[in-house]
């Protein structure tokens, strides 16, 4: 049995999905945070059910590429039931999608979600009345707190068994007549025997590009007939057919809303007050800077506190190991390498990664990100993008892979490409670890902040250049600002764990293995050869110790490897003894900018194509060399 979760962006589909499937789908209080389909098997009342979480769609009109995909899935794939997740606080608008889903004529039930938010807004929904109006069962839920979900899936299972199909609601008389007319044309050509004919007729009248292509390619004679009907509709109303249909749907949805909803005075709570500060023309900007500054400061302080004792501990362990197994022997080399890898993960990576991930999760979950998009829209226009690009760029500080993927929420191809490129240049958490573990720890937090600002400046310049060279204009910002939420411990923990798990299961073993390999290479004197080959870059251009060469090679696998490898290659955790501050700065700058890691290259190739990815990677190395050299001589001049 297969259930589909469908609903508008930010209606809480992924939250409901996660509650039955365990934390698998990334959730954020930002419209459109699910960008791909997520599947899961779950046991509901002893029956195995496959649940599919579709990306949020505002309507079944393929205005952007991605909603086209969800639409295609709903129409063509086999499934037993649609669970339409509806945000109760935006009932009227959500019902317009519900009405379109009803037209698919499949079994369906409605999860009336976010009832708590609706109650705060003074909205009371009579779900029985709603159910009567739309002809399918309605279940009240609060996904974030897990209320009503058991009942939802019980009803879903029951309804799927009955297999009772939904039916379309009646629109304006003229619209219905037009639909019937087009339906008759379709019937003569045999279209609509497998898919609901009324739905296809509606799509053709709306001039949906996807359906027009599919159908007119096979039956070009239909085009004239359908356009004729559309012209009659347009003449009668003075609007184009798609507006007439959408207007009529809006009217019907509005009527249903009026029947089912009683409005009371909305409560003005802390959310309203917080928003007045966050979005105020004078305070919005400074507050944002303060929030980001606080995040930076907390990560630094907490990381530092945790790092010091951990490094001492691992140092003692390493010394004890060296006594038992001298590093000259093969076994000693292997054990020493493995220990460095494990210790690097515990002592250098985790202290900064953990607070950083929690901070990012709070920003995502609270709904502050769309507010940042609003405040930064103006600034983003200077780079030739608009506010929506803020999400991928902020996510880029976590990991470049989801950041590049999330660029898909942007409606225009041009914006998507520019944003994806820029996101790859944002220092991800792995690069953050190098910045914090090396520059902040040894040179002080202001130098680290300086690196972030320099990086931001370069991203802005790069964005400007790209925006000028790539054709087309940015269509402008249209973004829903969801209500603020208090981040919930459960979600924060789950979200942090999701990323942390990836580090522990993928990056850490890689770290240990690379550490051992590096140890072996050194033992066999092969590292020296590779280091010598890289010496023109590392020693001549950047003025770094020759042993650094290998670490940069490993850094292509994962950026945090460079720091741990550095410890291994230089043979000490007290890096200040073997590197000058200028060298640390140069090294970090180079690591921040040169080729993104393997995983990022792979996802970039998928989104942008291999040719562009190769160009960007080559460019990033060049940029890293230039900035590294600038850092080297800049620091020499300053000190």
């Amino acid at each position: 049995m297969r259930f589909i979760l469908a609903g508008q962006p930010n209606s809480g589909k992924s939250t409901i999905f996660n509650s039955i499937a365990g934390y698998r789908a990334a959730t954020a209080n930002f419209p459109g945070s699910s960008i791909s389909f997520t599947f899961s098997r779950a046991l509901i009342l002893g029956r195995e059910v496959e649940v599919v979480d579709l990306p949020g769609i505002y309507s079944l009109t393929s205005s952007t590429q991605d909603s086209g995909k969800a639409e295609g899935y709903l129409l063509e794939e086999p499934y037993d039931l649609i669970i339409n997740v509806v945000d109760a606080s935006r009932l009227g608008r959500s019902l317009e999608l519900t009405m379109q889903l009803l037209e698919l004529e499949r079994p369906m039930i409605v999860a009336l979600n976010m009832m708590d938010e609706a109650a705060r807004g003074g909205i009371e929904v009579d779900h029985e009345e709603l159910s009567r109006q739309i002809g399918v069962p309605v279940v009240l839920t609060v996904g974030r707190r897990g209320l009503g979900l058991k009942e939802l899936f019980r009803r879903a299972l029951q309804h799927a068994h009955q297999g009772e199909e939904s039916f379309a609601l009646t629109l304006d008389r003229e619209v219905e007549e037009a639909l019937e007319e087009v339906g008759a044309f379709l019937e003569t050509t045999g279209i609509g025997n497998s898919v609901p004919r009324r739905f296809v007729a509606e799509k053709l009248l709306e001039r949906d590009p996807h359906f027009e292509r599919e159908i007119y390619d096979q039956h070009p004679e239909l085009k004239k007939q359908v356009r004729g009907v559309a012209a009659v509709l347009q003449k009668a109303h003075g609007w184009s057919a798609d507006q007439v249909i959408s207007g009529s749907r809006h009217a019907v949805a509005h009527c249903i809303e009026e029947e089912a909803v009683t409005l009371e005075r909305p409560q003005i709570g802390w959310r309203e007050w917080a928003d007045r500060v966050f979005l105020h023309p004078w305070t919005g900007g400074p507050v944002m800077v303060a929030i980001l500054g606080l995040l930076f400061w907390v990560v630094f302080r907490v990381g530092q506190r945790l790092e010091m004792p951990l490094i001492e501990l691992t140092d003692r362990l390493a010394a004890a190991l060296a006594e038992k197994l001298p590093p000259e022997t093969l076994l000693g080399t292997l054990a020493g390498g493995a220990l460095t890898g494990i210790a690097g993960g515990v002592a250098i990576v985790l202290p900064y990664l953990l607070p950083f991930l929690i901070g990012l999760a709070i920003l995502e979950d609270s709904g502050y990100l769309p507010r940042m998009a609003y405040i930064l829209d103006n600034f983003m226009h200077r780079i030739g993008l608009h506010g929506k690009s803020v999400l991928p760029l902020i996510l880029g500080y976590g990991c470049s892979v989801p950041a590049i993927m999330s660029a898909r929420i942007l409606p225009s191809l041009r914006d998507r490409r520019i944003t994806a490129v820029l996101a790859s240049f944002i220092p991800c958490s792995a690069r953050t670890i190098v910045i914090f573990g090396l520059v902040a720890a040894y040179m002080g937090p202001w130098w680290a902040l300086g690196i972030y600002l320099l990086n931001l400046l370069i991203v802005v310049v790069l964005g400007n250049v790209l925006a000028r060279t790539m054709k087309g204009a940015s269509p402008g910002l249209i973004l829903e600002i969801p209500e603020l939420q208090l981040p919930q411990m459960k979600t924060l923990a789950a979200k942090t764990w999701l990323t942390l798990k990836e580090f522990i299961t993928i990056a850490w073993p890689l770290l240990v293995a690379s550490s051992v390999v590096l140890g072996l290479l050194e033992w066999a004197d092969a590292a020296a050869t590779i280091n010598a080959m890289l010496a023109p870059l590392t020693v001549v251009l950047l003025g770094l110790p020759v042993a650094v060469g290998m670490t940069l090679v490993f850094g292509i696998l994962r950026k945090e490897l460079t720091l741990v490898m550095l410890v291994q290659a230089l043979g000490t955790t007290h890096l200040s003894a073997v590197m000058t501050e200028g060298q640390m700065l140069t090294f970090t700058l180079f690591v921040v900018f040169y080729v993104p890691c393997v995983a990022t290259v792979a996802v970039m190739a998928k989104e942008l194509g291999w040719r562009d990815t190769a160009v960007i990677s080559a460019f990033s190395v060049l940029l890293a060399v230039v900035i590294g050299i600038a850092g080297r001589f800049g620091y020499a001049l300053l000190s």
């Binding site: 309507s59 205005s63 003075g238 609007w239 507006q243 023309p281």
Partner: protein, 93 residues
């Protein structure tokens, strides 16, 4: 009739027509902005930043470019809707 980006904060206005292509209009429609709807301007970001509007309890951020395409009427001065609609059509197809 005036463009939405020129409306002052806290004013309630009625949407009279939406310029711009099919996509922008469809996107606005699905987010709940239709011709004839009432909306309130909640906040205007400085330096030609976006406009924050509230419609049926939902808050939307609209870039100035988009807001300029939405023509609205202040409360009180109500024109019959029908008159403005043929105009809205000519720009399109």
């Amino acid at each position: 009739m005036m463009a939405l980006d020129t409306v002052d904060v806290k004013r309630k206005v009625r949407v009279m027509m939406i310029d711009g292509g099919h996509r922008v209009r469809a996107h606005l429609n699905t987010l709940g902005i239709h011709i004839g709807d009432w909306l309130t301007v909640v906040e205007r970001a400085p330096f030609r930043g976006p406009v924050l509007v509230e419609i049926n309890g939902t808050r939307l951020a609209l870039g100035r470019g988009i807001a300029a395409k939405i023509r609205v009427e202040m409360d009180g001065a109500l024109q019959p809707l029908v008159q403005s609609q043929p105009e809205a059509e000519t720009e399109q197809r």
